[in-house]
Symmetry: C2
Subunit: 301 residues, 2 copies
Amino acid sequence: MNSNSKPNRVLVVGGTHGNEFTGAYLIKKFQQFPELIRRSSFETLTLFANPRAFTQVRRYIDRDLNHCFSRLDLQNTTLSGYEDLRAKEIDQMFGPNSESPIDFIIDLHSTTTNMGLTLILDNDDSFSLQLAAYLSSINSEVKILTFGYSYPPNRNLLPLRSLGTSSICVEVGAVTQGVLSAEIFLKTEALVHAILDYLSKYNAGEIPSFKNTLTLYKYIEAVDFPRTNNGEIQAMIHPQLEFRDYQPLYPNDPMLLTLDGQTIPYKGNSIVYPTFINEAAYYEKGMAMCLTQKHQIIMND
Amino acid sequence: MNSNSKPNRVLVVGGTHGNEFTGAYLIKKFQQFPELIRRSSFETLTLFANPRAFTQVRRYIDRDLNHCFSRLDLQNTTLSGYEDLRAKEIDQMFGPNSESPIDFIIDLHSTTTNMGLTLILDNDDSFSLQLAAYLSSINSEVKILTFGYSYPPNRNLLPLRSLGTSSICVEVGAVTQGVLSAEIFLKTEALVHAILDYLSKYNAGEIPSFKNTLTLYKYIEAVDFPRTNNGEIQAMIHPQLEFRDYQPLYPNDPMLLTLDGQTIPYKGNSIVYPTFINEAAYYEKGMAMCLTQKHQIIMND
């Protein structure tokens, strides 16, 4: 978001991955009760992104919808998979050249990992950092994760929320794919309301006060499981690391456990803070976890 | 198992559901290190039941393999789905009319619910009850669940383990579909060894001593979520019930929470012990949980 502009049109997206029920059912709720997400200074729209994958309780039908939004792909008329066509539809409805271009996208996801209430920041502009600081200040459970310029590794694979001028990704867990957890549902709903409330205050020039320090977890690299030649994993997350997202991992701490009982330690030279530890959807991506560094940012407010 | 017969051939089965990685990878481990499951008084065989579903990280390809083992289906030459054909292959390898009929099947499953170390007893003969009592006595986490004659509700849908003269189902959780949890993997492996050790002792006439009382959770009925006309759920497991498998649910205790925040209480007249609470695989079966009654059995040992 340009620091001088105000959001006029906000899009809340859920069900980009059809087996992430939290966002999918929240969108259904918001579509049934639109007054819940109505705010006076901007229009709030909703998108149930991948209805066919939802019906089949799968992440996607042909390929991950959240990789289909590069301009190259959106203009490629030879791409005809379900998600490629759906991405073009969504771009026509909400993209920068549509009749309803979106200033801010709230993209709802869930994770099988113990990431709690994670917000993934796509931009490190002052608007995004202030929003993150606000949300951290009103809920100490909130963690801020950023992939910076290293994500996505292949810039051809842009996510849905890249259609917006600005965006934030809500990533909440642990919750199994294909189930609704009331606790996760209610926490995610509360976060959506907090974000919308912040945007209202921002538009009214009433930026709330918040603490001066913001903790950011910055992506360094992904770690895969050791695998056989045919891609099968040969180790698991070590029990001492499982569910310990955002907790410090020291050099030589246990990281993985092979199927026959050998511990594989973390071999880095410095403390890292793993997250996305044992995400079901990332086995096929070759990721057992993401390593991050913990940063403290002094805010100028 | 007839109380006078001794098991000569034992089959350990995993991967009947392709997205239950615990059993699937345990079978891979046992196939790589067969000495782990070798015992002197019987032959131990392994079966990786649904390799194609495993490759696709799905419960099944065409239909649940664990519903394909009625004689009617096995003899029906018009059934040509992947699992129907696979069931016939498995019957030819290990069924009662095969060259290697199986006396005892250990069937490894996992669950997204907090059922811990559950053993599902298919028979209530003295052999099965004694095995259950032994396993409960060596590990206080073990819970014994039985569906009795009411399961499966449609007797046409017989499970794979019905091929054996006797069988036990190991159902361990909570673990997400499509991931390996080291803790769950190690606990399941320990249970397999305990069962094999029991069978060794049984064959040697050395039935170990165990406590005289066995706690059994007996299936009463399944409870579904309220649903819309098109089958979508309208409520979630209430946060006060989530993850509380095998804990008492009293009349008027909160059971479900609608998407718009209304609590639906349990309306029965007596205490029940819910289990399979929020199992991902059962959404499509129309089950939010199973209600059980808690029974104490005085063993005659």
